[in-house]
Symmetry: C2
Subunit: 316 residues, 2 copies
């Protein structure tokens, strides 16, 4: 029997995509950051994410931050479509020795995120679990009839590849406290012609590869232009990997990775007033994924943070 | 520190309701079967549910049925608002020794349910878990601008209390294979003036009590009119509880419990052609919850299937 872990989650997503009931209402479906639905009354964007203790956070992490993360992971997916989140529902499986105070901390974190981004926390479900804490958030974004979602599939040869903020080492803290790039996404989608966008949850190399697969294109990244986070340098001292490697392959930065025509990119870079600078890190090509450093070009493997890797799954 | 388990999930829902960001867009929010949102473009109904191995199903249950259940639990919530489900997203935490075949079985079950009720399966998220399998489904229902949700809060003194199908003993199998009463809900909301409705997930007594709390009313149930499922009789032989007790307090029947004026109820009962008969089981009163049997009236405790009960939570 084929082992689930040997193919990873993307194989399963492929399977789901194939067997999903064909819904005429779906403008963009499984495989992008969000599904975009044509409700009879207008477009609705929806995303769902599950975070699990031991995988996305540790038992000892502050529960308020865990609640914040649960909400913001989904907000980030909505932002990656070029929209702001409108409403959140959360289902929680709580360990059966949880105290009321612990449960409240989680919901205070969720609530803090909802307040920060003016999202309605509209419902939820709680259940007990003998296993680890897990939180499932589903977030909706309401769009106007004119809304055009920014998909992964729109990258064009010659496009500049850009990224918000800095990358790598999120495990040292940012993965729990990051600010989803909702404001930046709105500016990008209202003021610029963005061709393709994704949020960096699996890592720069892996998420860029998602864009390339959907756009049937390639890319060249310039190593010296990648904005490396202080945390990546810090982590590098402990792991033996370079800070650049961390910036390329660490997951859960939740920055926006996007492509636009070079002149649009220049206009953005000239006028940018985001909380953190945007960096142009490469360009879209016909095929392949490469990284250039000191005049040398080498293939860049789209490795990143993939669940089920190194989780010790048994072969069947 | 107050123990979470000592107050049960309803205390937490109360807390969430209090701290939820006030969203003007929410017509009916936390505490009903679904939230009803006024999207700028029209009403959207949304519900989210988490089912967890060891709580809502057993490790040895057929995974296709588990997938079916995950979808249908949420379909049932949408039906309880008087609407049909439109779209589903599912997030799954899969044990890390899961095979690809096992994962596929779950999604085939989800897909089967979506096909049966013409729901678009539009997206999802999978993650690994060292704990039990858990599935979180979020389901949307699109409504026309004229849609009036059937809330828990609309019961009126003098109303007849009705229920679809038969009750009790769902643990013997129905909890995995039930047919959510979507068709019945549509007939009820289009052809009748239903005052209040809920689906029976916690048990007849407990779910009726939810209606009473939201409607600020009471009820009298007639024991001899309760439709007792064969499974309740079967289970009664093993547990020492009466079949009636099972019908009153077993959870996960996923039948519809609703109230309407007596003449509407008579019209429904005369013309009914549902898959399974509808039964009139009692009436709404000013206050209290009672059951009558053989001319005797006694208080009925709103006990039912509440998560965290009997789960061995440690007191802090």
């Amino acid at each position: 029997m084929e082992d689930y872990t040997s193919r990873g989650e993307f194989a399963l997503i492929d399977f789901i995509r194939r067997c999903a009931a064909s819904a005429e209402a779906v403008q963009a479906g499984i495989g992008d950051d969000c599904a975009v639905l044509s409700a009879p009354t207008g477009p609705v964007v929806v995303t769902t994410d599950m975070i699990v203790e031991g995988v996305h956070f540790r038992k000892e992490d502050p529960l308020r931050q865990v609640g914040w993360k649960a909400a913001c992971v989904s907000f980030s997916d909505v932002a990656a479509m070029g929209l702001s989140p409108s409403a959140l529902v959360c289902a929680a499986a709580l360990p059966d020795d949880f105290s009321m105070e612990q449960a409240e901390e989680i919901f205070l974190g969720l609530n803090q995120a909802c307040a920060e981004f003016v999202v309605g926390m509209i419902g939820g479900d709680t259940t007990s679990s003998r296993g680890p804490l897990s939180l499932c958030t589903t977030v909706l974004g309401y769009a106007s009839a004119e809304f055009k979602p920014i998909l992964r599939s729109g990258a064009q040869v010659g496009d500049t590849v850009l990224v918000t903020g800095s990358l790598g080492g999120s495990i040292l803290g940012k993965h729990l406290t990051f600010v989803p790039r909702v404001d930046e996404a709105l500016v990008l989608n209202s003021g610029f012609d963005v061709h393709a966008m994704i949020d960096i949850s699996d890592g720069l190399a892996a998420d860029l590869n998602h864009i390339l697969e959907e756009s049937k294109a390639g890319a060249i990244i310039e190593a010296d232009r990648i904005p490396i986070a202080d945390a990546a340098h810090e982590l590098s001292k402990r792991t033996g990997k370079t800070a650049l490697q961390h910036a390329l392959t660490d997951g859960e930065d939740f920055e926006l990775l996007f492509t636009m025509a070079p002149d649009e990119a220049e206009r953005l870079m000239r006028g940018q007033n985001f909380r953190e600078p945007v960096s142009a890190v490469g360009r879209i090509t016909e095929s392949g994924l490469f990284i250039e450093q000191a005049g040398q070009r080498r293939p860049l493997k789209p490795e990143g943070y993939e669940h089920f890797k190194g989780m010790g799954g048994k072969k069947k």
